[in-house]
């Protein structure tokens, strides 16, 4: 912000208009810009790197193929061959979250996934897809999801509500996990980086002291890269598992 000595760790999450469309909902904000950039990068990379369709792939194509195989194995492992119907869906989610998280690691870039509404929308999308396909494929047998097999009847009154609550809380846990990880990581990073500036402005001794938060910042940056990739993976794995529930409701 205006005062360089006062670091505002929240400012990075602020939504600002890139160009104003006046009053109304369609404002093209920095969030929208980075969503478009995220999608654009994914499409350009995946389509561009595979344009040659080489039998012996180059580096760029190998990365695309590895991503494909990685997500395909994830979906096949969690939801079986039938779950491959949802492979493009899971792949899109994984790539979107991964690239959005990675964009967030670049200084001055906006992190799309640090906004609860975005992660919640993605989680609700998964939730709705699971419910819709579950009922479409299994009819009312989908409700067996809430009645675990092999549980004695007298325990069911306790188990079924627990299952229902855990099912309904899925979109919340799915979205909050991603949102909170990214948000907390970025705030921590900003706060530690702010310490460097604050301490560094105190003179020679402060300069020395500033090395500690500097080391922390470097370490946290590395950790955040891990978190960014890991959260995308977790999001995709959980989506695959929820899709498996829709396909095979009796567990």
């Amino acid at each position: 912000m205006a005062d360089p000595n006062k670091v505002d760790p929240i400012h990075q999450f602020a939504i600002t208009d890139v160009f104003s469309t006046g009053e109304g909902g369609f404002a093209f904000t920095n969030s929208a810009l980075f969503m478009v950039l995220t999608v654009g990068l994914i499409i350009i990379y995946l389509v561009g790197s595979t344009a040659g369709r080489s039998l012996i792939p180059g580096r760029a194509q190998v990365v695309s193929e590895l991503l494909y195989d990685f997500v395909a194995n994830m979906v096949r492992g969690a939801a079986g061959t039938e779950g491959m119907k949802f492979f493009p869906f899971v792949f899109s989610l994984f790539m979107f979250v991964l690239v959005a998280n990675m964009f967030g690691m670049i200084p001055f870039f906006f992190t799309v996934t640090s906004h609860i509404i975005v992660t919640f929308a993605l989680a609700m999308l998964v939730f709705v897809v699971v419910i819709a396909y579950g009922f479409y494929r299994n009819g009312f047998k989908f409700l067996k999801l809430f009645v675990p097999a092999g549980v004695p009847a007298y325990v069911l009154p306790i188990v079924v509500p627990i299952e229902i609550v855990s099912f309904l809380s899925r979109p919340i846990s799915l979205s909050v996990r991603l949102f909170a990880n990214i948000l907390a990581g970025h705030i921590t990073l900003k706060v530690f980086a702010g310490f460097i500036v604050s301490l560094g402005s105190l003179g020679a001794l402060g300069f020395l002291g500033a090395s500690l938060p500097l080391i922390m910042t470097v370490a946290i940056t590395a950790l955040e890269f891990l978190v960014a990739a890991l959260q995308a993976y977790v999001f995709a794995v959980l989506t695959s598992m929820y899709i498996n529930d829709a396909i095979h409701p009796s567990h």
């Binding site: 208009d17 695309s64 899109s92």
Partner: protein, 199 residues
């Protein structure tokens, strides 16, 4: 709090805001949402609408591009490669089988040839042996015939010779007696020789 700084800069309106809490957000947002001070940006509901719209648009574009273009293409590349590798492996396998078959056929032909050559050698040897045997037998019979003939001829000659012995003896006796006595017939000499020969 660090967040207080922008509030102070932005002016009086925000000081009212911090005093009155929630109601203030509405007034600031109404100004176009350039500075959502006081509200933690990720929880600012005024940004939800545009974000959701753009997210829906972006994700829809992503999903359709992935499912229609990118993923089928990558899947096709991987399938092509797999079929190519499988085909090559199958070709290699069939080539190996052919080689094995050729080696087996060669071995078999070799064994047959060896067997045949052995048989021919055996046959030849037997033929030669038979030939030799036959010839030897012929020679042997010939020789034995000749020996027999010779023996008979010897026997005959001997008998003849022996026959002549009496005559010669008689002649000799007759000559001796004639010399001694002055007369001796041939018959007498012959009788005397026969008598002497009997003793």
């Amino acid at each position: 709090m660090e967040t207080e700084t922008p509030v102070a800069i932005d002016g009086a309106e925000h000081i009212d805001a911090s005093a009155e809490g929630g109601e203030v957000h509405a007034t600031t947002e109404a100004h176009g949402g350039e500075e959502h001070s006081g509200v933690f940006p990720p929880f600012d509901p005024s940004t939800f609408g545009p974000q959701l719209i753009w997210l829906a648009l972006a994700f829809a574009v992503l999903y359709f591009t992935m499912s229609r273009l990118a993923l089928p293409r990558i899947g096709g590349i991987l399938a092509d490669r797999k079929s190519r590798i499988d085909g090559d492996l199958a070709a290699a396998d069939s080539a190996r089988q052919k080689t094995d078959a050729a080696i087996a056929a060669y071995e078999e032909a070799l064994a047959t040839a060896r067997q045949k050559s052995q048989a021919i050698a055996e046959e030849t040897r037997a033929g030669i042996q038979a030939d030799i045997d036959a010839k030897r037998k012929a020679v042997e019979t010939d020789l034995s015939a000749k020996v027999a003939a010779a023996e008979t001829s010897i026997q005959a000659t001997k008998a003849e010779a022996l026959g002549h012995v009496a005559e010669i003896a008689a002649d000799t006796v007759q000559a001796l007696v004639k010399q001694l006595t002055g007369s001796a017939t041939a018959d007498e000499a012959r009788k005397a020789v026969a008598a002497a020969a009997k003793e």
